[in-house]
């Protein structure tokens, strides 16, 4: 209905864009399954000889699994901390009597405007002074703090959109706040909790700058750091680098395709609801 183009032009545009999106990804997938000689000779073609050994070598090594494990650990801790802290704060801001509640909300909303990169050096020093360099917590704590603003905003709005009569009835029955929170509010706000979790998981899983500054020991590297280090070591062996890229991206892409509805909602919710 909205299409400004005639049908043939529309298809042409869509196919072109689809090719531009897909070809680099396919070149990566197939490039990681070629020998170096073949990759250099035919970077864009299908492999003539499928070198699954590129993949096996990486999958049998420790490095790949260690990095994925580090990333998972950091992401899960970040999600947990963000969700807990933000839920408590949002519950308080939504339902409790607070003097200057608007001021407090405004204070946390400042976080929407603070770019992490601007204070990366003081953050590094803070993490160092806390003795958390090279540990997962050194990444998790700042990450959770920077995720709070969006999370609190989304959750507070979701909490206040719940049917008020239900909560008032609970209050009449002398339901203490913590039971109401645990038994009524949080279960009903589950979709928004999922959104917040997806947002902070994806943010943490893909984060680069903060771990780059805080982690020096390659045993603690999450995968974005690991992949860069790998590329640095195998600069000319692009077939291995591409295999490594493919294997690190595969879980994320599969997860995206399986849970696309929630992920798209999550990644765009922060945008639309602010």
């Amino acid at each position: 209905m909205h299409s400004p183009l005639p049908s043939w032009a529309r298809h042409w545009v869509l196919l072109t864009v689809a090719a531009l999106v897909l070809l680099p990804l396919l070149a990566t997938l197939f490039g990681g399954l070629k020998s170096l000689g073949e990759l250099r000779a035919h970077p864009m073609a299908l492999p003539q000889q499928w070198m699954w050994s590129n993949w096996w070598e990486i999958l049998q090594g420790q490095r790949y699994w260690a990095q994925m494990g580090n990333s998972l650990q950091i992401a899960l801790l970040s999600v947990g901390l963000t969700v807990v802290l933000a839920s408590l704060a949002a519950f308080s801001l939504a339902f409790m009597k607070l003097r200057g509640a608007n001021l407090l909300l405004g204070y946390i909303m400042l976080g929407l405007m603070f770019p992490l990169a601007a204070s990366i050096l003081p953050l590094f020093l803070r993490v160092r002074d806390l003795g958390l360099l090279d540990s997962a917590w050194g990444v998790v704590l700042p990450q959770a703090a920077f995720g709070l603003a969006t999370a609190v905003l989304l959750l507070k709005n979701a909490f206040q959109a719940l049917p008020r009569e239900l909560l008032e009835a609970a209050v009449m029955d002398a339901c203490p706040w913590w039971r109401c929170c645990w038994r009524i509010v949080l279960p009903l706000a589950r979709p928004t909790l999922a959104t917040v979790a997806v947002l902070s998981f994806v943010g943490s899983w893909n984060a680069y700058l903060l771990p780059l500054v805080v982690l020096n020991d390659d045993k603690a590297y999450p995968w974005p750091l690991g992949i860069m280090a790998y590329q640095g070591e195998y600069t000319t062996d692009w077939q291995l680098v591409l295999a490594f890229v493919t294997l690190t991206l595969l879980p994320a892409v599969l997860l995206f395709l399986l849970a696309q509805r929630h992920i798209v909602a999550g990644l765009t919710a922060g945008a639309v609801k602010s």
Partner: protein, 288 residues
């Protein structure tokens, strides 16, 4: 945000629930920004006491340096391309894919995919594709052009990758907005036999305006903070021609531990973001 919502509980526990979040937020978000401002007035390597107060010298050094100005220019270019190329592209695709047919949904999913990939991984993919020794340039005959070795073409490459990576996000936002337009507006237009262009100008575009403004907001703030894509593709090279504010900050502040100088760059970044956000808010309010 809702203005009036009478509290359900009136005890003091509300404060208790807020304390952890406030503490974290203050310690890791607000204080570091203040510290950056304070450090930016000193020369300091991050160890020992802050004694070498230099006033605004770091800012003078920053703004006088050619590399920093190039970095700012690059951020400006990213903003320009995001607004002049990426946003119209996203709008066009949103219009083409607004109807929720199966084929359209497959296209949407595909176009959103680059946004989901981590910047670092997407950057490495493009580092390979743009490499003169084995990537796309080799298809153009020998000797293959070394796109990433030349300041101008490296910059063009970087801008292209930015569009590739982020257009899907804006497209999805715009599709959501298109779908929430009240259909009866179009019914009325059909009754009047309005032309397609008129319908677009008079109905679709005004209805999309708030979302388009939001896209501008995200484009600019994202462009100002661009870093993750730069590192795998060019690392700011060749000869510092593709740095952005943040990659410049990282290189000077973090790798050389020039905390005062790096913090000055951080403060400028913060002021740019803040200034834009406030200006945008006024603009958005006036239009709404």
């Amino acid at each position: 945000m809702r203005a009036a919502y009478a509290p359900l509980w009136r005890n003091q526990a509300g404060w208790l629930l807020l304390v952890p979040a406030m503490l974290f937020f203050t310690l890791f978000v607000v204080l570091p920004m203040g510290e950056a401002a304070w450090y930016s007035l000193h020369r300091w390597n991050g160890f020992g006491d802050l004694t070498d107060f230099v006033g605004l010298r770091n800012f003078e050094r920053l703004l006088a340096g050619a590399d920093f100005r190039t970095a700012m220019l690059n951020n400006g270019l990213v903003i320009a391309v995001s607004l002049a190329v990426q946003l119209p592209l996203a709008l066009l695709l949103a219009l083409l894919l607004a109807d929720a047919t199966r084929a359209n949904q497959a296209y949407r999913l595909l176009f959103f995919l680059p946004f989901v990939l981590a910047d670092v991984a997407a950057g490495l993919i493009w580092r390979f594709l743009l490499d003169g020794d084995q990537g796309l340039p080799t298809l153009m005959g020998q000797p293959a052009p070394q796109w990433l070795a030349d300041p101008v073409s490296a910059r063009v490459c970087l801008l292209g990758v930015v569009v590739w990576k982020y257009f899907g996000f804006h497209m999805v936002l715009l599709i959501a907005a298109l779908q929430s337009i009240d259909g009866s507006l179009y019914e009325a237009a059909r009754m009047d036999a309005a032309s397609r262009w008129r319908v677009f100008r008079r109905i679709t575009l005004p209805q999309l305006a708030p979302t388009l403004r939001l896209c501008v907001f995200f484009s600019v703030l994202g462009a100002l903070q661009l870093f993750d894509l730069v590192m795998p593709i060019t690392q700011g090279g060749p000869s510092n021609s593709t740095h952005t504010l943040v990659s410049f900050l990282y290189q000077h502040g973090a790798t050389r531990m020039d905390v005062g100088f790096g913090s000055a760059a951080g403060v400028l970044l913060f002021l740019l973001c803040l200034g834009f956000a406030l200006g945008w808010q006024r603009w958005d309010r006036r239009r709404a």
